[in-house]
């Protein structure tokens, strides 16, 4: 099987999905109205509510949602063979993620750009809103822990990536100052910054940075995790224009550059897929494909995190309601494209089946490492760059994406803790330093709790992260579905995905409960128990909300008839 066919079929399906399915959803289900006055116009304040060009908004939605997660997830999930991962990514993007992201933007824009969390309170119930907050907190906790582990593994495996990855942070600092203090035009620094990062790649190869084997009883990976959280603490406390904004911008640019490079290299080198279509000899101890596939690939197929982005900032800047389709649906398609190229890299970037098998000795192996090695092979074959250059560049990309998400994640966690401080009148929690230290402490506990002092086994929590992410997606789809039922429109296009993701994540959480208990990881058992209980409550809330709305709609109809 040639990888070009995968790329063309995948991208082609996404294009058709956007062209036809999203059009159908826009016209018949969400019924977008080009004359509707969006919050960006009706509540315009030039601070949060500003009508923004739809291409810019699409770029934001895309770069905010496409991070390290659609790389790590598919990188792990191809262990079951490329067909299941491919089908779930394509089907998920077309019928789940697209409708979910698009719906979140639409629902929020129709309700004064309120966030999905607030909408849950208004449309479903206050209990559901509390659930929503718990799920978000768990999600942020896991995302920070998992990404810290992922970055530390990347640094540990590719010491050459250390210098370029930190150089990107220095570049970000410079861009921030240039833009806000020197008021320079952004285009020239962007080109220079990208060129600089590319130049740092051979430098990193020349001067690889390795941390001592052990220091104060901590392995090299664990030292990186601690260093990363020290960095994240600082990054989340400094003003956003200093680091967060330019860093997010550079990550976005690198995403476009990386995607272009990889798809271009696939077209030129047309590698052959060496991984099996369905892996008949899955390593011992690997979990069953159903339901685990559907939580291992969360981002890239459907992810609740998108709803937070779509309803938080995107909906406040929507110029026309009809733009929601372009921004939401096509934005999530971009993430699908990243997941797709990861599948190609992790299945076609190896010389033989034996090499591929060596990459996947156990469940949880592969991940971003398979993406980096496979991707670098493809880059070397289909571009003027060498394998080493490709490997470092792709590692830097993964590190940048994961790091940017961590910065934002720690900051959001701090806000949640501060909000709790206000709600429960605990002044200490309202302090930004105390709240940040608590957030970082919780993440560190999780990162080490999962992997011991070596910080090695952190990827164990990856499926747990996926489960939480899918639960959040389920909650968002619930809000959209209830809204549709209320308006007497067909709700099955969001209801079926909701039932599917919620039940899959529930089953996955149950399986993991048994698996974690069996392997004696009691810390994670507790965490998983929390997820199972939350999942049960989400399902109960969903059922009760639907019954209530159905009854209400039924009554109105009866009244109209009589």
């Amino acid at each position: 099987m040639n990888a070009i066919i995968l790329a063309i079929v995948g991208l082609g399906a996404m294009f058709l999905g956007y062209r036809f399915y999203s059009k159908f959803i826009a016209e018949k289900i969400y019924r977008l109205d080009p004359d509707f006055k969006t919050p960006a116009h009706s509540m315009r304040d030039n601070i949060d509510y500003v009508p923004t060009n739809r291409t810019v908004l699409w770029g934001h939605h895309f770069t905010a949602v496409a991070g390290a997660a659609p790389i790590i997830g598919p990188g792990i999930a191809v262990i079951w063979g490329w067909v299941p991962a491919f089908l779930w990514v394509i089907g998920g993007t077309l019928f789940f993620a697209g409708v979910h992201d698009f719906g979140a933007v639409w629902a929020s824009a129709r309700h004064k750009a309120r966030s999905i969390g607030a909408l849950t309170g208004d449309i479903v119930s206050q209990r559901a809103r509390a659930l929503f907050m718990i799920v978000i907190f768990l999600l942020l906790l896991m995302v920070n822990a998992v990404f810290a582990v992922a970055i530390s593994q990347a640094f540990d495996l590719t010491p050459a990536s250390v210098i370029p990855a930190w150089a990107a942070i220095a570049v970000a600092l410079v861009i921030g100052v240039l833009f806000y203090k020197a008021h320079t035009n952004i285009v020239v620094p962007t080109i220079l910054a990208t060129a600089f990062i590319f130049l740092c790649v051979p430098l990193g190869d020349y001067v690889p940075v390795r941390l001592p084997e052990t220091f104060l009883g901590l392995g090299a990976g664990a030292q990186w995790i601690v260093l990363l959280f020290v960095y994240a603490t600082i990054a989340s406390l400094v003003p956003v224009w200093v680091l967060l904004q330019p860093r997010g911008y550079i990550s976005g640019i690198m995403l476009f550059v990386g995607l272009g490079l990889l798809y271009g290299a696939v077209l030129i080198s047309h590698p052959t897929v060496v991984a099996p279509a369905f892996n008949q000899s899955v390593p011992a101890g690997a979990p069953p494909i159903v339901p685990l596939l559907f939580v291992t690939i969360a981002c890239g197929a459907i992810s609740g995190f998108h709803g937070l982005v779509g309803s938080g900032t995107t909906s406040k800047q929507l110029d026309k309601e009809t733009d929601a389709r372009f921004v939401g649906y096509l934005g999530s398609t971009g993430e699908g494209a990243l997941a797709l190229i990861t599948i190609i890299a992790a299945t076609a970037g190896f010389a033989s089946r034996a090499d591929w098998d060596a990459m996947y000795p156990a469940f949880g192996a592969g991940g971003q490492n398979a993406f980096v090695q496979g991707g670098a092979t493809i880059v070397a074959a289909g571009s003027p760059f060498s394998y080493e250059f490709g490997a470092v560049l792709l590692t830097v990309m993964v590190v940048l994406f994961a790091g940017t998400t961590m910065d934002v994640g720690v900051r959001l966690q701090r806000y949640i803790i501060q909000e709790w401080g206000v709600a429960y009148k605990i002044p200490a929690l309202q302090n930004s330093y105390v709240a940040t230290f608590l957030a970082v402490g919780a993440c560190l506990t999780l990162a080490f709790g999962a992997g011991g002092t070596q910080g090695t086994g952190g990827m164990i929590i990856w499926p747990l992260f996926g489960t939480t992410n899918q639960l959040l997606a389920g909650l968002t789809l619930l809000v959209i579905s209830v809204l549709l039922v209320k308006q007497g429109r067909p709700s099955r296009y969001t209801m079926i995905p909701m039932i599917f993701v919620t039940s899959m994540s529930f089953l996955a959480a149950l399986y993991q409960l048994w698996d974690l208990y069996r392997t004696g990881q009691y810390f994670l058992v507790l965490m998983d128990l929390l997820i199972v209980v939350t999942a049960i409550f989400v399902m109960l809330e969903a059922a009760s909300a639907f019954m209530r709305e159905r009854r209400a709609v039924g009554t109105t109809r009866a009244v109209t008839v009589s």
Binding site: N46, I47, D48, V50, T52, N53, T55, V56, L57, G59, H60, A64, F179, N185, I186, V187, T190, P239, V240, W241, L244, Q245, P246, G248, Y249, G252, T313, K316, Q317
Partner: protein, 87 residues
């Protein structure tokens, strides 16, 4: 569209791409700073001694336009000052 115009368009879009996600956060931080400055300028009028009052006096008429917005934002429905009326 000429090349120059096209370049300008690209530059505009890139700037927007850079600015838009954090526009609200930065504008709010900016406003907080301005609010503190307002407090300095009008502190003496509200009975808070400020050694720099003399130098800030000539700023008062310039900031008067923003005065109403500021005191409302600070949670005072009406002007806290007796000396001149605001609303």
């Amino acid at each position: 569209m000429s090349l120059r115009e096209r370049l300008r368009r690209v530059s505009e879009l890139a700037t927007e791409f850079y600015v838009a996600p954090y526009r609200g956060v930065i504008a709010r931080a900016h406003r907080d700073q301005d609010d503190l400055f307002m407090l300095f300028v009008f502190s003496e009028l509200m009975g808070v001694p400020n050694p720099a009052t003399y130098y800030m006096l000539e700023l008062q008429p310039m900031l008067l336009e923003r005065f109403h917005e500021w005191h409302v934002r600070m949670g005072m429905e009406h002007s806290p000052l007796d000396g001149f009326r605001c609303c």
